[in-house]
């Protein structure tokens, strides 16, 4: 299990989801990816994408101007 981070600040919907999707494609099951975004839409979109793609959202934090989402990569990709 390895921890990774992805800076998706200043990207607008749906680019944060696209960046997460492309990054997760290169990770292994159990790896964790922390995504930092500034578009609040990501708080809906990234968890929705994770649910349909078999990944788990471990933590979701709305910090005002930024939000942080911690994802655990699932097996089914």
């Amino acid at each position: 299990m390895t921890d990774f981070t992805l800076d998706a600040r200043r990207l607008l919907c749906p680019l944060p989801v696209i960046r997460v999707q492309d990054r997760v494609a290169g990770l292994s099951p159990g790896d964790r990816l922390e995504v930092v975004c500034s578009d609040p839409g990501a708080l809906n979109d990234i968890p929705a994408w994770c649910r349909m793609s078999g990944h788990r959202v471990l933590d979701l934090r709305d910090e005002g101007d930024e939000c942080r989402i911690l994802i655990e990569v699932g097996a089914a990709r």
Partner: protein, 348 residues
């Protein structure tokens, strides 16, 4: 011997038609996944995300939401670079504005074809309906999409399939043609009836099109950008900025983008390392960017324009901060322009 489960890839826009097309095919026991293409012009989210960040009413991405309702996976592809060729040189021309719908559909189906070949899927599904849209969904243009994309009879349109020659999935018996539909024309009634049958109540209302290129105001700003650049090439930031703020062009060599609310101001502020940034300092007022090749007198004029849209518009002087992309800030004291000093043809 059990028959293999056939797999289809559906173009999912986030609207009702693609939603219905997926449901019709799912009902036939086909495994469906969705694909959505990000061209940079999609109406999705951007302006809503930028303007008035209302965290209680979060904007959802319709394509993702639709996919989740349907219980399918969605793949979103960034095609911003490849799409330039489609928009700049459309073989079939533009629609009412700068929308190259027919070339766009050909492009998207071609990308879907590449995807199914790379992922072992069997065919492609779209929510197109004959006669629904004036350019890309006519009886004579639907075959153009199938032919020019290379998808041929791997392209199935479940909502109007009965009006078209049988495709491979129908001929092979992967799907039952008699359970497909024969919708045609601009009426939305059959779609709404089918939505009711499937129990679908919440869906994005069909508008003029799925992207900003069908928007008259946006097309004016894009045409202006092209006219005032040495080439029509564009970057993602260019086309995103066209969705934000008031665009005011006092001269061919520069324009001012003035934020309309705080959210837009914050967004424009993110470009402070790329373009000169103007911020109202002495009273509440907007943030703005200056795009082009302005000289010092142009920047002062830009500051006067910004002052006109702030709370100090009736004052004799307003203080505006001018940030340079390379760093450093100057303070300008300027007289706000009066409304009659901004000619109508400056406003894009």
């Amino acid at each position: 011997m059990t028959r293999p489960v056939r797999k289809a890839l559906a173009l999912v826009s986030g609207g009702l038609d693609s939603m219905l097309a997926v449901r019709v095919i799912q009902e036939q026991g086909i495994h469906v996944e969705g694909i959505n293409f990000f061209t940079g012009f999609c109406v999705e989210g951007h302006t809503h995300a930028i303007r008035n960040r209302d965290r209680n009413r979060r904007k959802r991405n319709n394509a993702l939401w639709v996919a989740e309702q349907l219980g399918i996976r969605l793949h979103i592809e960034d095609v911003v670079e490849e799409y330039k060729e489609v928009l700049l040189y459309p073989r079939h021309g533009y629609g009412a504005h700068l929308n190259p719908c027919l070339d766009c559909k050909v492009f998207m189906v071609r990308k879907a074809l590449e995807w199914i070949r790379g992922h072992g899927f069997d065919f492609i599904v779209t929510g197109e309906v004959i006669g629904q849209r004036p350019m890309s969904q006519r009886k004579d243009t639907l075959p153009v999409v199938a032919r020019e994309s290379g998808a041929g009879d791997l392209l199935l349109r479940p909502l109007c399939a009965q009006n078209l020659p049988p495709t491979l999935p129908e001929r092979e018996g992967w799907v039952d043609r008699s359970a497909l539909y024969d919708f045609s024309g601009r009426t939305r009634k059959p779609q709404m009836a089918l939505a009711r049958r499937f129990g679908i109540e919440d869906y994005a209302q069909p508008a003029g099109g799925c992207c900003f290129l069908t928007d008259a105001q946006y097309a004016v700003k894009l045409a202006d950008l092209w006219r005032h650049r040495p080439s029509r090439d564009y970057g993602l930031d260019d086309i995103l900025l066209l969705k934000v703020g008031r665009h005011i062009r006092p001269a061919p060599h520069f324009k001012v983008i003035v934020a309309r609310d705080e959210g837009e101001g914050r967004y424009l502020g993110g470009y402070r390392r790329q373009l000169p940034l103007l911020e109202t300092l002495s009273c509440p007022g907007p943030t703005a960017l200056v795009d082009g090749d302005p000289d010092p007198a142009d920047l002062e004029l830009a500051a006067r324009i910004v002052a006109r849209y702030g709370k100090g518009r009736d004052l004799a002087q307003v203080e505006i901060g001018l940030g340079h992309p390379q760093g450093g800030e100057r303070r300008l004291r300027v007289a706000p322009l009066r409304p009659h000093e901004i000619p109508a043809d400056w406003l894009l």
